[in-house]
């Protein structure tokens, strides 16, 4: 079908989508679609009732959040028993300072790090570089993001917006060999380069997919094995962990790992799944001498005390963005934050704290179709949370969020007054009060008409027909048993 000319929209996400190059849009769309289909296949192949699993996982996560104070204390003592040092960071700045301090005290200069969205949140790498440290991303996608001075556009597949030709050009520019866009060659070159970085590094930083409060085990999953190499080869391992990453017990992990792998990448189990029980034990030959765990709050406690706390259940699988029709059109960078897609549209504005208005348009960037909730492995009611944030933006009079949305005040007055409504209907003036904004001259009407036509307005025709054939019999209940299905 032919496409129409872009409408000069005032919403940033809509504008970003209409300015996006067709090749990026195609990469994002196709990859998201394939991952969504593979995910459905994997869940239906392996589970009799995948829905029951995600509801159970959601309940366990919610329980953990409801008792987070207890579980964090338990995790802290378990981690200390395992020989790890535990640090608490209230915000991004203090997390970065703690990590820098550990590096300075231990005479470290070179860091290798595996993928960690939390480190994107704190902007750790630029911070360390500014302080004279080297920090190298070892996840292939994140490494490409780093050499391109770009930002990840997806939480699982950070370079979903790039194609291999672009990557080959970046590698050539970085002196990693002559142009070659064969994926095997690209991967081999990255591997050779990163191998030397692992061996030189004196500190390895990872995130954590889960932390068991019971045992203090840190669980990490990757498909490249880079988290294992990052934590095991250097002298010191630092894990930077959001406080919401806890699960109560080790036994919960089978459910979460099986859901995470299937939801994120349609695998039964991620290729490398590690359970880290502490630094190198005296009976072990390899591993880091010291281990530090930095728990990061960064406004999570604030989110926990509000009415959108369910968003903290998120296990960062990315299924919601893969299925989201808006993400597929707009791509991750449209969301202007670390977390894109539906989860980002809730989480990013919340993590902004007082600067909520800067991202208050994101909750509007949704048709509320509910696909995100349907695929969520921890059953987060994302549409409900988007609606709550829309209401908050309205309360706080955020103009960015209101752009393009017709005002509802006059409409609500008409829609709560039968007389006004009927008059509008019969006079054909419904068009002047109906909020879908089909006014000829108003901008919502133009926005509608830019790609769609309205059918003829038939206001009141139905109620007239109804009245003529069936004069109202006031107060007479339906005589038919069938109209009372609950009885």
């Amino acid at each position: 079908m032919k496409s129409t000319k872009a409408y000069p929209t005032r919403q940033p996400v809509d504008r970003y989508a209409s300015d996006l190059s067709p090749s990026v849009q195609e990469s994002v769309y196709n990859a998201s679609k394939l991952k969504t289909e593979a995910r459905v296949d994997a869940l239906q192949r392996d589970f009799a009732d995948p829905d029951a699993n995600r509801r159970l996982a959601g309940a366990i996560k919610q329980h953990t959040l409801d008792h987070l104070d207890t579980y964090l204390e338990q995790a802290e003592s378990s981690l200390r028993e395992n020989g790890a040092a535990v640090h608490w960071a209230s915000d991004a700045e203090s997390a970065n300072q703690i990590i820098l301090g550990i590096m300075q005290r231990n005479d470290c200069r070179r860091m290798v790090k595996s993928k960690s969205m939390v480190s994107e949140e704190t902007e750790l790498v630029p911070f360390l570089e500014k302080n004279g440290m080297e920090a190298v991303e070892t996840d292939l996608g994140e490494y490409i993001v780093q050499i391109d001075h770009d930002h990840p556009s997806h939480i699982v597949t950070p370079i979903i917006h790039k194609n291999r030709q672009e990557i080959a050009r970046s590698f050539e520019r970085e002196g990693l060999g002559a142009y070659d866009d064969d994926p095997t060659v690209i991967t081999r070159r990255a591997r050779d380069y990163l191998r030397s970085k692992y061996l030189e590094a004196d500190v390895g930083l990872t995130g954590a997919n889960f932390v068991s409060a019971e045992s203090g085990r840190i669980v990490l999953v990757t498909n490249e094995g880079n988290a294992r190499f990052s934590m095991a080869a250097p002298r010191i391992h630092i894990a930077l962990v959001g406080i919401e990453k806890l699960v109560p017990k080790d036994r919960d992990l089978s459910l979460f790992l099986s859901l995470l792998a299937r939801s994120a990448t349609a695998q039964c189990l991620t290729v490398y799944t590690q359970f880290i029980g502490g630094p190198r034990h005296r009976t072990q030959r390899d591993g880091p001498e010291k281990m530090h765990v930095v728990f990061l709050d960064n406004r999570r406690t604030e989110v926990l005390s509000g009415d959108c706390r369910k968003i903290l259940r998120c296990i960062r699988c990315g299924a919601c963005m893969n299925v989201c029709p808006v993400y597929r059109q707009a791509s991750g960078h449209a969301y202007r934050g670390v977390y894109p897609g539906p989860v980002g549209a809730v989480l990013s504005p919340l993590l902004k704290g007082k600067e909520f208005p800067e991202l208050a348009d994101l909750p509007k960037a949704s048709s509320l179709c509910g696909a995100c909730n349907e695929v969520c492995p921890v059953d987060i009611p994302i549409p409900e949370l988007l609606l709550r944030l829309r209401n908050r933006a309205k309360h706080e009079h955020v103009s960015l969020a209101a752009r393009g949305t017709p005002s509802m005040g006059i409409w609500a007055r008409a829609a709560s007054s039968p007389g006004a409504w009927k008059t509008a209907l019969s006079a054909g003036r419904l068009l002047n009060v109906v909020p879908h904004g089909f006014l000829n001259l108003s901008s919502p009407a133009r926005a509608w008409q830019s790609s769609r036509k309205l059918p003829p307005f038939r206001g009141g025709a139905f109620r007239k027909w109804m009245r003529e054939r069936n004069p109202p019999k006031n107060g007479v209940p339906s005589p038919d048993r069938k109209s009372e299905p609950d009885s």
Binding site: M1, K2, S3, V13, D14, R15, S18, V323, P325, V326, A330, A365, S366, S367, L368, C369, G370, A371, E374, L387, L389, N391, K394, R403, G404, T405, P406, S407, M408, G409, W411, A412, A415, S416, P418, W421, L430, V434, P444, A445, A447, S451, R452, K453, L454, P455, P456, R458, G460, A461, F462, W465, M466, P472, S478, D480, K482, S483, P485, D486
Partner: protein
């Protein structure tokens, strides 16, 4: 029965809803004081405005009769919007009471009245859009069961059925480019099987999809499921 969109644009879909319910033995009341379920204000984030309209609607439909709505998204608004909008308000308990009486049309026919097969013939190939607001409800499966039982009716299967049409109420005007693109993708899929008409259980989706077809000069009919059910009855003389 409640509707506003059909009362404004799609009176034949509303008439078909009445005729189908009457065929099933119901007496249909259409309270004249009704306006809208409040979904536009609620989705726009203006919950204070939404509460005003919700309270009006709850008052208008006061009583014990079941409330049947030929639209999945309006029913969804009653189920999942009224409780949120009234959260913490003195009349919060009105939401679950109202929701218990509210039915989407297909859900009412199949699960309320326990009618699972539909008589008559309808010799057309139909691409049916499962509206998003019916996720997690029995509406889509009910609609498909009814359509599947009609003699002569052929249902087209098409790709990415779980994807949204892109309407989303005020989303369609605040995010017109993404909304229209979603609609064009949906229509491409729906037209894959060369249907005689596109159909749905929610005229809002069809308003948007039909609007795109009209803008592009494509004369593909759009029908509400109630119109299909009514026309099938008429084919056998079960309805005059």
């Amino acid at each position: 029965m409640g509707t506003c969109l059909c009362d404004a644009f799609f009176d034949d879909a509303a008439r078909a809803t009445v005729e189908v319910l009457e065929y099933l033995g119901c007496t249909v009341h259409f309270p004249e004081a009704q306006t809208c379920c409040a979904q536009p204000a609620f989705n726009a984030g203006d919950w204070a405005a939404a509460r005003r309209v919700i309270r009006h609607t709850v008052g208008v439909f006061d009583g014990e009769l079941p409330i049947v709505i030929p639209s999945g998204s309006c029913a969804h608004m009653v189920y999942h919007g009224y409780d949120l909008a009234l959260e913490g308000e003195a009349d919060a308990d009105a939401a679950p009471r109202f929701a218990r009486r509210t039915w989407e049309l297909c859900d009412y026919i199949v699960n309320g009245l326990e009618v699972r097969e539909w008589p008559g013939t309808y010799r057309k190939k139909i691409a049916f859009h499962r509206s998003c607001h019916t996720r997690g409800t029995r509406t889509a499966e009910s609609a498909l069961a009814l359509l599947g039982s009609i003699d002569g009716l052929e249902l087209c299967t098409f790709g990415e059925q779980e994807q949204c049409c892109g309407f989303g109420g005020t989303f369609s005007v605040a995010f017109p480019n993404i909304s229209a693109k979603m609609g064009r993708i949906k229509l491409e899929h729906m037209r894959d099987g060369d249907p005689d008409a596109i159909a749905g259980s929610d005229m809002a989706c069809l308003l948007h999809l039909g609007g795109i077809l009209d803008r592009e000069g494509v004369a593909l009919p759009r029908v509400h499921i109630a119109q299909i059910l009514r026309d099938a009855l008429k084919s056998e003389g079960l309805l005059s």
